[in-house]
Symmetry: C2
């Protein structure tokens, strides 16, 4: 499409992290705010998040959950209670200490009204939600409780990156309580399946479902499960987690019930969440050196129509022609709702407009000028493959849903192929080192990605590996595997695990 | 329906504020949290809010707005800038001063990592959003910006009441920027119309659209418009506001643009919002001494089916019969989506279950026992009127949408009649005093409600009136009115205004 070699500078190969920032900028999705570590999610990025929310929310409701809302603030004492049980307790958080601003006598304002007990802006809500559940649950008849919350949370991250790691981010957190361990485990695994289903079938992002090792577990969880995706730089992204909390939080919060047999018992709880990080994962899975590429099922707009008016004798006729196409497309269902179409009528050069929508990742762009109209056709551009061709207007409308599905399928297939190409069975420590040596990064035949290796080490062994090679066990896959021998320790291993560098 | 005279104690007449709290409790909508002033919104209350959100969000998008998300925190310096211009600057807010919790050496945690500049949890977002707009706007081509945000905000309220006034609440805040004053005023008034439309046609809550007087204006606004509703205790509730901010915030934040004529100009901005307070208004508009009454268009469930199983020979047959009704109802559209139906299969006494749904305000409750099934009928209870009758099953299904529309219309008509009965033209100070004297509260023929009176006083006169009688000017209605003479000052008055006690 001319103009420049690629729309994004630098390219992925030149500087992947910087490419990522430039894709977001070029697509006008988000930017840093004047508040350190907090981002502004701009309309194009936020609409993508709204689409993610809408679909996930439907999946949560279909699996028996309801939404509710709990306070933004957590009393310090709640975290102290938790901190006692939990070694890896996260202490980087926003602490509210005052309830007022007053004149400081120098033309400014200063904090006043010191609180008796500081409040923490929720980094996650297990403790505050647990306090409610403890009140609500008396008998086995009150169980299960299956609640989800859409909320903002704050973790005072030092090194932030748009969508991937920000001080404030948006997420959902499911919190459920059950009468039995079995039921809680079924719920934990069900929600992992929901996440995997969403990642693959909506985001077109293939994931591996697995369990985290002890060192990577959520503090206070008995088991943490995650979905792990491979980005285009072959690093892993943890895209969602589901925790089986056993009775740990129930004991901490006092969630007790009288069982059917008349015994006082602690409930079994779970929690699970995905966040705006998914947007980062989506960007890094599909985008290319011309900018954002969006899976049609989640794209804010699926078809952009660009009327080419500057040479037209009768611009209104072209606009009407475009409007007719828009209406016909909007009358068709794709991914559960009407096809989303926008006619970009702005008075800009056609080339500039087209490039803008390329960079924004619109799955299909139609250009319509006087000649196209005269021929009863449209000029169609497909974002994922770059294919472009004149198409009969009626034929385009009749096949639009198929085209969108094709793009969706192609993105998933492409991402799967990329993951397969960069997943290697590793059977010795030497191979492992070679695979993860940064100097080999230009030798894709040996470098990086997912190393499937046997593991029989301890948490300390894992730590040592992480320190030396910056590689961690992303998960122990849930899928079946063959037993073997750990190349690091010589211990027996029940199955291969996924090693990778990660975000 | 037997059992007790009324499900809610006290009744509205006995103690209206306490009745309100008890309705919320009996309907299981929300409760106070361990965090002072913050509420927990429970699923039944939250689903109502979700329905409000869904409908309003659609109305915002239909009027050309998009959603985005801005930071939770506002740097202190942003508010200092604003405080200089604004007398009524709200200083009660949550102030974040630290970014870490550390061991306090006594088994607890203490704040650490003091921030260079304190951060304020947003009480509203004009300043932080304005900072973004200042970056985004360069030329008239970048205008208008029409963005809405769904968010939580915090104002450190001393006396809180569930939904009506809480320290943290949920809301939407629209923030738009325009090239001309006219365009910004059209937007301001358009959003007031959207709110009034929503209040009347979805919440069944009639409202008066009007402009606030100077003393009740949003700090920094040139004009503040509101919708005002009358609650059943005849007090006014401000249910939504739309502000014309002139160039005040644009100057404060530096939102400047190069006009079509090549001149550097400040933008004209608006902001408008409604909050979870709407839920409080809805409760107080329709509910009765048996609990919550919900307008069907926003009810979490419109039809509850209660199978009566304890005397049944074949409980499964009854459940199947109920399921058939549910499916038939769910196949019908009401208020833009499928009728929402729940079969309550819990093993509780029928009377207890029925009362629970009465208190939760379900518009229609169907009871289905063996005899009903044998007759091919259902026993239908209508929440708003208390009517109950056996109805042929097919007839019920065929008329369900009509019934729901009838209930919706009845609630609006009832609320309108209540407002009309309690709105009086007041022509002298004596009448005014009599109307608002608390001792007259048991004489509805003379007491309380909306006093439509002429007004020609100053802001100080208005203040004095508010201090003496606890009555304020709720708004100057936008509707046409006749000029007259102010009974307090003798000054001329362009039209009657609405005086009332208020929430």
């Amino acid at each position: 499409m001319g103009k420049a070699k690629t729309a994004i500078t630098p390219t992925r190969v030149e500087d992947y992290p910087e490419w990522y920032q430039q894709v977001i900028k070029a697509a006008d999705m988000a930017e840093n705010s004047p508040v350190r570590g907090c981002m502004v999610i701009k309309p194009w990025g936020y609409t993508l998040w709204e689409n993610i929310q809408r679909v996930l929310d439907g999946m949560f409701k279909d699996t028996g959950h309801v939404n509710a809302y709990f306070p933004l603030f957590i009393p310090k004492s709640f975290l102290e209670r938790e901190a006692k049980h939990v070694d890896g307790f996260a202490k980087e958080c926003a602490v509210v200490t005052h309830s007022r601003l007053v004149d400081d006598g120098q033309g400014g304002l200063k904090p006043d009204g010191e609180l008796e007990e500081p409040l923490i802006v929720r980094p996650t809500s297990e403790t505050i939600i647990g306090a409610s559940y403890a009140k609500w649950v008396q008998s086995y008849r009150d169980l299960p409780i299956m609640i989800n919350q859409w909320a903002n949370v704050v973790r005072w991250e030092m090194r932030t990156r748009l969508f991937l790691r920000t001080a404030e981010f948006l997420w959902q957190e499911g919190h459920t309580a059950h009468a039995t361990s079995e039921e809680a485990m079924i719920e934990t695994r069900q929600m992992l399946d929901v996440y995997a289903d969403f990642a693959e079938n909506w985001m077109a992002m293939p994931v591996i479902k697995g369990e985290k090792t002890e060192g990577e577990r959520f503090p206070g969880a008995d088991h943490t499960y995650s979905i792990e995706a491979m980005m285009q730089d072959r690093k892993a992204l943890q895209a969602g987690t589901s925790h089986f909390l056993g009775q740990n939080f129930a004991k901490g919060c006092g969630i007790q019930f009288l069982s059917e047999e008349g015994k006082q018992e602690f409930a079994w709880t779970t929690s699970w969440g995905v966040s705006t990080r998914l947007v980062g994962g989506l960007i890094m899975t599909h985008s290319d050196d011309d900018g954002l590429v969006l899976p049609p099922k989640l794209a804010p707009k699926q078809v952009i129509i660009l009327p080419v008016l500057h040479k037209a004798e009768d611009p209104n006729a072209i606009l009407e022609y475009c409007d007719g196409i828009k209406k016909e497309l909007e009358g068709q269902l794709f991914a559960g709702r009407a096809i989303q179409v926008e006619i970009d009528k702005r008075d800009l050069r056609g080339g500039d407009k087209r490039w803008e929508w390329v960079k924004k990742g619109a799955p299909i762009i139609l250009e319509v000028g006087p000649r196209d109209m005269a021929n009863g056709s449209v000029f169609a551009f497909r974002r994922d493959t770059g294919e472009k061709a004149g198409v009969n207007r009626d034929e385009f409308c009749a096949t639009a849903v198929n085209r969108l599905n094709e793009i969706q399928d192609n993105l998933l297939a492409r991402a799967k192929a990329h993951r397969e190409e960069n997943t290697r069975e590793i059977n010795s420590k030497e191979e492992f080192i070679e695979f993860f040596t940064p100097e080999n990064k230009d030798k894709p035949e040996i470098h990086g990605g997912f190393a499937m290796a046997h593991w029989g080490g301890s948490a300390e062994d894992e730590d040592a590996l992480a320190k030396e090679y910056k590689v961690t066990i992303r998960c122990v896959p849930l899928a079946d595997g063959e037993p073997g021998v750990c190349p690091f320790t010589g211990n027996p291993s029940p199955k291969r695990v996924v090693f990778a560098k990660s975000y």
